[in-house]
């Protein structure tokens, strides 16, 4: 019996899943995802929480491809979510039955985001690093200004935002009693598919070109990589992922408003990919999303009762306490494990691989 996995064919070497254990884990994961609503006995809070994680996960994959693989820093990711969400909201309010059809409206939102991403990516050809981050910051602020502008209140809802009518999937209206469940399965399936797509992009020619650009763009250009094409492609793909996530989020919330997509959300996404692991497309994004989305919830569930027990007045300081803890968490990750949670898990795995016989 061989003492490990040894590949004898080239197809094995380039296959998507290299080890049998990965296939087993994947099967367990899929089983878990399917039965998750049973585990939490259909509690809408926990199902909704899973939907939120799936949505943030999709958007985080997009940013992780742009920043982690292609090395282009973006502080405007929330703006792409806003574009997706507002497209969906506009369609559902104005186009009638087609607009509330998720399968049609989401690709349209993605398409609009692709075009926007193309435009937003253009400055990346001239400016780099911090300067590029600032151009995306301008984009974020500009989108926020446009969607909250009272002059266009009739189209974009101004400060109040827009309501989104109940969606349909393949022509069937989502029944209200199973709403969370339908959203859960739809979003998780989509997130799963997009994650596999992203993972495959990252190991294809495109992904390798992005990595070359990230490491040294001039050297990449010398090697014959078309910077113009691949930088813009990175922005477009990232925008697409964000817009799909934003669109689903708009449907799920039933309402979009400017403050859902402010700069803090963009910063959250950067925090997600840094905490999870920069360039670790699937697992980095997933673990980072998990931390960033669940930590505030955990604080509300655990810290709030303690605060209220001491003095009911203290309950009011919960949001700032959340902010402080969140800030400390990000800082701690940057200082002590700058490669993210994925790297931390790898270290733990390495430690236990030969445990307890280290030598």
């Amino acid at each position: 019996m061989p003492a490990g996995v040894f590949k004898t064919r080239y197809e094995d070497e380039i296959s998507f899943m290299k080890y049998p254990i990965h296939k087993i884990c994947l099967a367990i994961l899929i089983l878990f995802l399917i039965t998750y609503p049973l585990f939490v006995s259909n509690n809408p809070y926990y199902v909704g929480f899973a939907v939120k994680i799936a949505v943030f996960f999709m958007a985080a994959i997009g940013l992780n491809m742009l920043t982690g693989l292609a090395g282009q820093i973006s502080l405007g990711h929330a703006a792409f979510l806003a574009i997706g969400a507002y497209t969906v909201a506009y369609l559902s309010n104005n186009i009638g039955i087609i607009g509330s059809e998720m399968v049609i409206a989401l690709p349209i939102a993605g398409l609009i985001a692709l075009i926007t991403g193309l435009i937003i990516g253009i400055p990346s050809l001239r400016v780099k690093r911090l300067y590029l981050a600032l151009t995306t910051l301008v984009f974020q602020c500009a989108v926020l200004y446009v969607i909250s502008n009272p002059k266009w209140e009739r189209v974009l809802g101004g400060g109040w935002g827009l309501s989104v009518s109940e969606p349909a999937i393949f022509g069937i209206k989502v029944p209200s009693e199973f709403r969370d469940l339908v959203f859960y399965y739809f979003t998780v399936t989509l997130a799963f598919a997009l994650a596999i797509l992203a993972s495959n992009i990252s190991r294809s020619m495109i992904g390798r070109a992005w990595k070359a650009i990230r490491d040294r763009d001039i050297a990449a250009e010398v090697l014959g990589i078309n910077l113009f094409k691949y930088k813009l492609l990175a922005f477009m793909v990232s925008a697409f992922y964000a817009a799909i996530a934003g669109g689903i989020w708009a449907y799920y919330q039933g309402h979009v408003s400017p403050e859902d997509f402010d700069l803090l959300l963009s910063i959250d996404f950067v925090a997600i990919i840094l905490i999870g692991g920069l360039g670790r497309i699937v697992w980095g994004s997933l673990l980072g999303t998990f931390i960033v989305v669940s930590v505030p919830e955990i604080i509300s569930i655990w810290v709030l009762p303690i605060l209220q027990e001491i003095n009911p007045v203290y309950a009011g300081i919960l949001p700032p306490v959340k902010e402080v803890i969140f800030g400390i968490l990000i800082a701690a990750f940057l200082l002590y494990e700058s490669k993210g949670l994925v790297e931390l898990l790898r270290k733990i795995k390495e430690y236990f691989r030969l445990w307890p016989f280290q030598y």
Binding site: T67, I73, P123, R126, V127, R129, L130, Y131, A133, L134, T135, L137, V138, C141, A142, Y145, S148, N149, P150, K151, W152, R216, I218, A219, V222, L263, I267, V270, A271, L274, L278, G316, I317, P319, P320, V321, K322, E323, V324, F326, G327, I328, I330, A331, L334, L335, S338
Partner: protein, 300 residues
């Protein structure tokens, strides 16, 4: 507002607010020059400074000047600790990580301020440094707070010029900004300079915060927005140029108030908040190193 909104009036008012922006930009550029750190928390240092001033002047009812001194000392300690315990460990890390650390700092500072003082507007009352009222020159009417703020900013800028040109530490700071390795080689304690730049920059932010608090008659959590506004100023002026930061700050103030008066009614909403950013975008695309910045030449 009973001010006569003539064009000149707007310009003068913009210049006075621009003084604060110039101070914040100065602090930003100071840190960037010495340590190459992009400090997204500069606006939050100003926020902290304003609230510290509120704490010492109103809650402890100290004399305003004494309160400024006390809050400057506290802020200097804060700035020093930020450099010593957080950013020094990030030396050599990629830009994104350092950027994110300062963003994490914004969360922490804003959270702490809100825990202690809440998010609502707190009035300074009779504890403002400048008397109420206004001076009138021709058709231009300028509140004492605005005028005093402008004078303060100009005084700080002047002090800085003297500090950098005449004192030993100032020259050492310029040396570090110019070439870290060479500065190290001639025996300058580079780490001391790093810590010092953060401390000085925090004190400058406190002064900006005090001026802001006086202009608005109180402190407010929205002061943090200066942290974003400072970017147009430093980019227009050039990221590593102190005179550029001052010019950029004043330009930003003027741009903002002109946009508020003339462009907001046409385009609607808070266009004055976006307009400087759009100008910054144009500058970035045409002349990425600003008016006075040094151009980076990239080699393979």
């Amino acid at each position: 507002m009973s001010y006569l909104y003539s064009f000149l009036q707007i310009i003068v008012q913009g210049i006075s607010v621009g003084g604060v922006y110039a101070l914040v930009a100065l602090g930003f550029v100071l840190i960037y020059k010495a340590t190459k750190v992009i400090n997204f928390a500069q606006g939050h240092l100003l926020l902290l400074g304003a609230y510290l001033y509120f704490f010492f002047a109103v809650e402890l009812s100290l004399n305003p000047l004494l309160a400024i001194a006390a809050s400057s000392i506290v802020a200097a300690c804060v700035g020093f600790s930020i450099e010593r315990f957080l950013l020094r460990k990030m030396l050599g890390e990629p830009l994104l990580s350092v950027m994110m650390l300062t963003l994490a700092l914004t969360y922490i500072i804003r959270g702490i301020v809100q825990i202690f003082w809440g998010g609502q507007y707190l009035a300074l009352g009779d504890k403002s440094v400048f008397p109420s009222g206004a001076i009138t020159i021709g058709s231009v009417k300028l509140g004492y707070a605005y005028a005093g703020g402008l004078l303060t900013s100009l005084a700080v800028v002047g002090l800085f010029t003297i500090f950098f040109l005449k004192t030993r530490t100032g020259v050492a700071m310029r040396a570090v900004a110019n070439d870290q390795r060479a500065a190290f080689a001639v025996g300058i304690n580079v780490f001391r300079i790093f810590a010092l730049s953060w401390a000085i920059s925090s004190v400058v932010a406190v002064l900006g915060g005090v001026v802001f608090a006086n202009i608005f008659g109180g402190v407010n959590i929205n002061f943090e927005s200066v942290g974003i506004k400072v970017f147009p100023a430093v980019i227009i002026g050039g990221l590593d140029s102190l005179p550029g930061a001052v010019v950029g700050g004043f330009l930003l103030g003027i741009l903002e108030s002109v946009a508020k008066l003339y462009l907001n009614p046409i385009l609607g909403g808070n266009f004055h908040e976006v307009f400087p950013l759009l100008v910054m975008l144009a500058v970035l695309l045409v002349k990425p190193y600003g008016l006075f910045g040094t151009e980076e030449i990239e080699r393979l």
